[in-house]
C-alpha cells in the first residue's frame, strides 16, 4: 500500500517550487542545492512507487477522501509509475547539466520553474481523471512557457509566442472534447468512463467519436504528430539546451495520454468507435516518421537536426502505439524510454557544441572546438542511439516494433521504419561530419571544461546502455504492463466505483 505517498510527486515539487520562488530567489547557490535535492528525492520516491506498483498492482488515491466518480483521483499503476521515474531521473541529470553549464544563471527563477514543470509532468502521469489531466497539462505548459524563454533573446521570444499560441488552441480543443464527453456520459473519471462507455446507447456514439477525435488531436499536438507538429522544430531549436532536453519527455506526455486514454476508455473493442482512432493515428504516425527523417536530412543547423530527430522518434513511437495490441504497446513503451533519453542526450550535445563553437550551423566550417574529440565521441554514441543502429537500445526498440507490426500493413510500416532509419543515419552522418570533421584551420577557442555537464550527459548515455543491457528483464516487465493496460480490470477496480446502471 502506497497510501499518501502517491500524491507526494505532485506536492513535493509544488512546495519546493513556491519555496524557491519566495525565499531563495536571490541566492542561486542555495536554490541549486534545494532544487537538486528535491529532484533526487523525487527520483528515489519514484523508484519506490515503481516497485510498489509492480508488486501490488494499481492503487487509487482519493483526494479529500471523496469517492471516485465525484471526487478527484490519482491512480498509480505500472505505466504511470514508470513515467514518473523516467521524468525524475531525466530531470535530475538535465538539472545537473544546467548547473554545470551555468544555464540556470542566465535568467531568473530557473529552479522554481523547473520544479513547477516537474509537478505538472508527475501530475499528468498520475491523474485518473480526464479533467484533471487537462489541469496538469496546463500546469506543465505554463511552466514550460517560462522555461522556453529562459535567457531571453529575439528569436527565442518569437518562437515562444508561437509555442504558447499553438498550445492555447490545443487547450481549448481539449476543453471542447471534455465538455462533449461530460455532456454525454455525465462523468470525467477515466475508470468510470471505461466502465460506462460500452453501455453507451447507439444514438450517442457519434458524439463520443467526435470527442475521442478531439482528444486524439490534443494529444497529437503534444506528441508533435503531423500535421500538428509545426510548433516543435522552432521551439526545440530555440529553447535553452537543458530545457529542450527536459522537453524530450513533454512530447512523451502526448504518447502517454494516447496510450492511457485509448486503451482504457476508447479501446479498439469499444463498439461506438471501433478501430477509428487506430486508423487515424497510423497514417499520421507514418507521415510524421517521414517528415522527421527528411527534416534531419535537410536541416541547416545541429539544433534543427536534433528537433527533427525528435519528431521522427515520435513517428516511430506512434506507429507502435497505433497498433493497440499488448505486444505493440510493450514495444512502444520500451521505445518511449529509449527515445526520451536519446533525444535528451542529443539536445545536450547540441548545447555543448553551441557554447564551444558559437553556432550549430552546418554550412560554414568553423575552427575546432575545445574538447573536440570528447564531443565527437558523445555525438557518435547519441547518433547511433537516435538512428536506431546496433548495439544501443534504439536498435532493440525498433526491432521490437517491427516484430509487433506483423500482419496487415506490414510492408508499409516496415518500409517506412527501415527507410526512415536509413535516411536518419545519412542525415546524422552528414551533420556529424560537418560539425566535427570539416573544420577550418586554426586553434580552438578556450572554454571552461565543465566536468559536471559531461558527467550529466554521460549519465544519460549510461541510462541508454543500461536500457540495452537490461533489455530482457525490462521487456518482460513491459509485456505484463501492456497486458494490464489492455485489460484494465484492476485499474477500474482500484477506483472503487459504485455499481451503476446504464447512463
Amino acid at each position: 500500500m502506497m497510501g499518501h505517498w502517491i500524491i507526494v510527486p505532485v506536492v513535493l515539487p509544488a512546495i519546493m517550487g513556491a519555496f524557491t520562488l519566495l525565499v531563495l530567489r536571490n541566492t542561486i547557490e542555495v536554490a541549486r542545492v534545494f532544487s537538486t535535492v528535491t529532484t533526487a528525492l523525487l527520483a528515489a520516491l519514484s523508484v519506490w512507487l515503481l516497485l510498489g506498483a509492480s508488486a501490488e498492482g494499481p492503487e487509487a488515491y482519493f483526494l479529500g477522501n471523496w469517492p471516485a466518480p465525484f471526487g478527484i483521483v490519482l491512480v498509480l499503476d505500472r505505466l504511470s509509475a514508470l513515467m514518473v521515474a523516467l521524468t525524475a531521473f531525466l530531470a535530475l541529470a538535465v538539472q545537473l547539466y544546467a548547473i554545470g553549464t551555468g544555464w540556470d544563471t542566465r535568467g531568473r527563477h530557473f529552479h522554481a520553474l523547473w520544479q513547477f514543470q516537474l509537478m505538472g509532468l508527475c501530475g499528468a502521469f498520475l491523474t485518473g481523471d480526464a479533467f484533471n489531466l487537462f489541469v496538469f497539462f496546463e500546469v506543465l505548459l505554463i511552466a514550460s512557457y517560462g522555461l522556453m524563454i529562459h535567457g531571453g533573446g529575439r528569436a527565442r521570444l518569437k518562437a515562444g509566442v508561437q509555442y504558447v499560441a499553438f498550445n492555447l488552441v490545443g487547450s481549448t480543443l481539449f476543453l471542447f472534447g471534455l465538455a462533449t464527453i461530460y455532456s454525454v456520459m455525465g462523468t470525467l473519471n477515466m475508470a468510470d468512463l471505461a466502465a460506462k462507455l460500452p453501455l453507451l446507447p447507439e444514438g450517442d456514439a457519434a458524439l463520443m467519436r467526435l470527442a475521442g477525435v478531439m482528444l486524439l488531436m490534443v494529444f497529437a499536438i503534444k506528441g508533435a504528430l503531423v500535421p500538428l507538429h509545426f510548433w516543435l522544430p522552432a521551439t526545440y531549436a530555440q529553447a535553452p539546451g537543458p530545457v529542450s532536453a527536459l522537453f524530450a519527455v513533454m512530447t512523451k506526455v502526448g504518447a502517454y495520454a494516447v496510450i492511457r486514454c485509448f486503451t482504457l476508455f476508447f479501446p479498439v473493442t469499444l463498439p461506438a468507435s471501433g478501430a477509428l482512432f487506430a486508423n487515424l493515428l497510423l497514417p499520421a504516425a507514418l507521415v510524421t516518421l517521414a517528415v522527421g527523417a527528411i527534416g534531419v536530412m535537410g536541416a541547416r543547423t545541429l539544433a534543427t537536426v536534433a528537433a527533427f530527430a525528435a519528431i521522427a522518434s515520435m513517428g516511430t513511437l506512434f506507429t507502435a502505439v497505433a497498433q493497440f495490441t499488448p505486444q505493440a504497446t510493450a514495444a512502444a513503451i520500451y521505445y518511449l524510454l529509449h527515445s526520451t533519453l536519446a533525444a535528451a542526450v542529443m539536445f545536450l550535445i547540441t548545447d555543448l557544441v553551441l557554447s564551444r563553437r558559437g553556432t550549430t550551423d552546418l554550412v560554414s566550417p568553423k575552427t575546432p572546438m575545445a574538447q573536440h574529440g570528447l564531443l565527437a565521441a558523445l555525438f557518435m554514441v547519441a547518433a547511433i542511439a537516435v538512428a536506431g543502429m546496433p548495439p544501443l537500445s534504439g536498435f532493440l526498440g525498433k526491432l521490437l516494433i517491427l516484430d509487433a507490426t506483423r500482419g496487415a500493413g506490414q510492408m508499409l510500416i516496415w518500409g517506412a521504419i527501415l527507410v526512415s532509419s536509413f535516411v536518419l543515419i545519412l542525415g546524422l552522418a552528414r551533420a556529424g561530419s560537418a560539425v566535427f570533421w570539416k573544420t577550418a584551420p586554426g586553434t580552438p577557442l578556450p572554454h571552461a571544461p565543465q566536468p559536471l555537464a559531461f558527467v550529466a550527459t554521460g549519465a544519460l548515455v549510461a541510462g541508454l546502455i543500461g536500457l540495452t543491457l537490461a533489455a530482457g528483464p525490462i521487456t518482460g516487465w513491459l509485456a505484463e504492463t501492456a497486458a494490464a493496460l489492455h485489460d484494465p480490470v484492476a485499474y477500474i477496480d482500484a477506483n472503487k466505483l459504485e455499481p451503476h446502471d446504464a447512463p
Binding site: G152, G153, A155, L157, Q162, A165, A179, Y182, A234, R300
Partner: protein
C-alpha cells in the same frame, strides 16, 4: 434559448479562428480569448441548459441544475485567464525585442 446559445458559441468560435489565423499578435490574442469564451459557454451548456434552478442544496428547491459544469467552467476560466496574461506578456517581450508584432519567424529558426 438552445438556438441562441448554440449559435453564439458557433459564431464566437468562427470569429476566434478567423482572428487566430492573422499574422499579428494582437488579433491572435483576441481570437484566443474569443475561442476560450466560446469554450466556457460550451462547458456550461454541457450540463444541459435550465433556467432559474439552484446548483446547490436548498430546502425549497423544486429541482436542481448540474453543479459539475459550473465547477469545471470556473477552473477553465481561471486557467484561460492566466494563460492569456502569460501570452500578452510574452507577446510584449517579443515586440520590444524584435520591434514588430509579426507572429511568424523571420530567420527559419536558425541559431
Amino acid at each position: 434559448m438552445e438556438i441562441l446559445v448554440a449559435s453564439a458559441i458557433g459564431l464566437m468560435t468562427a470569429v476566434g479562428i478567423y482572428l487566430i489565423l492573422r499574422l499579428r499578435t494582437f488579433p491572435v490574442i483576441v481570437g484566443l480569448s474569443m475561442i476560450s469564451y466560446a469554450c466556457n459557454v460550451f462547458i456550461f451548456a454541457s450540463g444541459r441548459i435550465v433556467a432559474g434552478l439552484p446548483p446547490i442544496l436548498s430546502p425549497d428547491a423544486a429541482a436542481y441544475t448540474d453543479p459539475m459544469p459550473q465547477a469545471l467552467v470556473l477552473t477553465a476560466i481561471v486557467i484561460s485567464f492566466g494563460m492569456t496574461a502569460v501570452l500578452v506578456m510574452m507577446a510584449l517581450g517579443a515586440f520590444f525585442e524584435a520591434g514588430d508584432d509579426r507572429i511568424d519567424l523571420d530567420d527559419g529558426g536558425a541559431k
